[in-house]
Point group: C2
Chain length 367, copies 2
C-alpha cells in the first residue's frame, strides 16, 4: 500500500493506494469522527462492495444508512442530490455525521456536494471504484452536479477526509470505463510529466491487461501529479485549470450528445487530441507529437474522432458557457510541448475553426 498526502493545511488528507483496501478498516475508520455514516453508492457498485463497507463501519460501532443512486452521468442532478438530503433527514443525521462515497466520479461528485451543503457542511470520505475517479475526481475537492444547460455548473469545493483507491476493485470495471480512466492518466503526462508519457507508452498494454502493479503505479503517479497541482491552487484561480486539458472540447461533446452517451473520459480523450491538434496548427508542437498522442489514445482504447454531425458553430456555442471563459474571452488549455501545458486565450480563431472542422483528420493537414 502506498500513501500520498494532499497538502492543503487543515484541509489536507491522505490518499491510500493499493490492493484489498476494503479489507483494511484501519484505512477508513480513523477518518470518521462522528457516529453516523451515510454510504452513497449506485445500483452497479452497491451489489459488489456495499456490504463490505457497511461491515467495516458497523464493526466499528457506527450507525450506517445507505442511499443508492441510479447509475449514470444523466442522474448527476440537483434533484438526485435532494434525494440524498431526504435520506439524511429521514435518518435524523446531524452535523457531525459523515458521508461516504462508494462508486465512480458521479457518486463522488454528488456525495461530496451533498456533504458540502447538508447543514452547511459535514464530513466526507471517498472510496472511488473506477479508474477515472481514483485518478481524478476523488482527489482535489471539486464536487457538483450538472445543469441541463451545462456540465458541472453547480457545485462546491469540498475536500474529503481520506481517499481509498483500492486497485483491486477495478477488476469489475468494464473495458470502456477502464479506458475512460486512462484518458485522465494520459492527461497528467501531457500537461506536466513527460517522463510519465514515456512510461505510459512502454506500459500501456500491461495497463490494458490490468496488471495490478502497473495499474497501482499509474494511479499513484496520477494522484501525485494531481495532488501537486491542487495543493498549489486549491480554488482554481490559476494553474489548476491546466487539469482541464481537453475538457472544454470534451464538455461540448458531452453536452451535445447528452450526458451518458459519451463517457466523460472518452470526451476528454478526443478533446485532448483536439487541443493537441490546435497546438500543432499554432506551431507549438510537431505533427509527430499530435500523432504520438493519437496513437497512445488509440492503444488505450479511446475515441479520437469527435461526433461527425457536430459543426464548428455548435462546438463554439457549447464552449462559450464553459467555466474557463473569463471576461467573455474563451481560454483553452493547449500544449507548448508534450508534458508542458498552458492556459491561454492567445490562439487564432481561424486555426480553432480548422481544428473544430477536422473531424477524423485531427493531426493531419486538411485536404
Amino acid at each position: 500500500m502506498e500513501t500520498l498526502h494532499v497538502d492543503l493545511g487543515n484541509r489536507g488528507y491522505p490518499i491510500f493506494i493499493g490492493e484489498n483496501l476494503l479489507e483494511k478498516p484501519e484505512c477508513l475508520i480513523p477518518f470518521i469522527t462522528g457516529n453516523q455514516v451515510l454510504v452513497v453508492s449506485n445500483t452497479t457498485v452497491a451489489p459488489l462492495y456495499l456490504e463490505k463497507v457497511i461491515k467495516n463501519l458497523t464493526d466499528a460501532g457506527k450507525q450506517v444508512i445507505t442511499h443508492i443512486l441510479p447509475d449514470g452521468e444523466q442522474f448527476k442532478t440537483l434533484e438526485q442530490v435532494e434525494g440524498i438530503f431526504t435520506s439524511l433527514l429521514k435518518g435524523r443525521f446531524n452535523r457531525d455525521c459523515s458521508i461516504a462515497a462508494l462508486g465512480g466520479g458521479v457518486v463522488g461528485d454528488m456525495s461530496g456536494f451533498a456533504a458540502a451543503c447538508y447543514q452547511r457542511g459535514v464530513d466526507f470520505v471517498q472510496i472511488p471504484t473506477t479508474l477515472l475517479s481514483q485518478v481524478d475526481s476523488s482527489v482535489g475537492g471539486k464536487t457538483g452536479v450538472n445543469h441541463a444547460l451545462g456540465k458541472n455548473m453547480i457545485g462546491a469545493f469540498k475536500q474529503p477526509k481520506v481517499v481509498l483507491a483500492d486497485v483491486g476493485v477495478l477488476d469489475t470495471l468494464n473495458a470502456r470505463e477502464f479506458s475512460a480512466g486512462l484518458a485522465e492518466i494520459i492527461k497528467y503526462g501531457l500537461i506536466r510529466d513527460n517522463h510519465f508519457i514515456v512510461w505510459l507508452e512502454t506500459n500501456i498494454e500491461k495497463m490494458m491487461m490490468r496488471d495490478k502493479a502497473v495499474v497501482a503505479e499509474a494511479v499513484s503517479r496520477s494522484c501525485r501529479n494531481k495532488a501537486e497541482v491542487v495543493a498549489a491552487d486549491e480554488f482554481e484561480t490559476d494553474q489548476r485549470a491546466l487539469l482541464n486539458l481537453g475538457h472544454t472540447f470534451g464538455h461540448a461533446i458531452e453536452t451535445s450528445e447528452g450526458y451518458g452517451s459519451w463517457l466523460h473520459g472518452e470526451a476528454v480523450a478526443t478533446g485532448m487530441l483536439m487541443a493537441a491538434d490546435l497546438s500543432w496548427r499554432s506551431g507549438w508542437i510537431s505533427q509527430e507529437d499530435v500523432l504520438r498522442v493519437r496513437r497512445l489514445l488509440l492503444r488505450a482504447g479511446l475515441p479520437v474522432v469527435p461526433p461527425v454531425h457536430m459543426t464548428p458553430a455548435q462546438f463554439l456555442e457549447l464552449m462559450a458557457v464553459d467555466k474557463k471563459v473569463q471576461a467573455g474571452k474563451l481560454r483553452l488549455v493547449l500544449l507548448k510541448a508534450l508534458g508542458d501545458a498552458v492556459i491561454t486565450a492567445d490562439f487564432s480563431w481561424e486555426l480553432l475553426q480548422q481544428t473544430l472542422a477536422a473531424g477524423s483528420s485531427l493531426g493531419q493537414v486538411s485536404p
Copy 2:
C-alpha cells in the same frame, strides 16, 4: 451613513447603514469586480426598488440581468435556486460574475446559496430590504434553502462583498414584517447586550413609529453584535450558535405550521420566550425577567403563545432534527441572565416538558 466592518480576514466586508443608500452607487459599484451582474429580487420588492438598482449598475457599465422569485418562505427551495442557475446559464454568466440580492432574508439566503454553488462560487452582494434581513440574515454568510423535512437544512457559508442596509426602504414594510425584524433585534440584547435591552425598552415605541434615527441606531447595534459573534466563530463551531436563541423552538413552530404561516421572526419571538421560560424554570433567571421579555415582545407586536394545537411530543419530534443536535444530544440556547446566553445540553427534560406544555402561560407557574 455608518460603516461597520465584519472582520473575517480576506473574507471581511463592510456594512453600510443609513438612509438613501440606493442613491449612492459608490457604496455598491466598487464591490463588483466583474462585468456581469444578476440581480435577484422577488415580486414584492422588485416593483419598488429594482429599477433604481439596475440603473446604478448599468450607469457603471455593468451587464445586468434579473431573476424575480415568488415572495415567501415556502419558495425557499432547491427547485427555485435551480431557476436562478438557469437564468445565469441562459445569460452565459461566467465565473467572474456577481449576484446581488435585493429583498428580505429569503431572497438573500437563496441568492447567497446560488452564488456559493454557481460554477463553485461567484461574488455576492446583499441589499436587504426588510428589518429582519438588515439585522440578521444579510450579515454573517449563512445561506441556504429549506427541505420539506427541515428548515435551512441545505446551504453554505458564503460571505458577501458588501451589505447595504438602507433604512429608508423599511417604510414600505408592513407592520407584521417590521415586528418580525424586531424579534431578532431583541435577541441580540438577550444573548449578549444588557444595555441594548434597556435601550430597547426605552425606545421601542419610537421604533414602532419607524423613527429613522432610532431604527438606524437599532440596526447598527444589532449588526455590530452579530459581526462580533461571527468574526469570533465564522463556521459555528461554538459561540456563534448563541445567535440561535429561540430558533430551535421557533423552527419547530415553523415546520409544524408550514413555512410562511408564521413569519420566521414571529416564531423566533415565541421561541425566545420559551427559552426564557425554561431558563426561569431551571432557576437561572427570575420570573420577572421572563415577564420583562414577554412585555418587550408584546410591545414590539410579536406573538408570545405557541400554536395551541402543538403538543410537547410534536415539539420534541421537530426539535430533534435541528442543527443544534450534536451526537444525538439536544442542545438549547438558554439564558443565565438577560444579556447572557449559553449553549447547553444541561437542562431537565421534565422542565422542558413543562415549557412545551405551558402554552399561553409561559413565564407563569403552571396551574
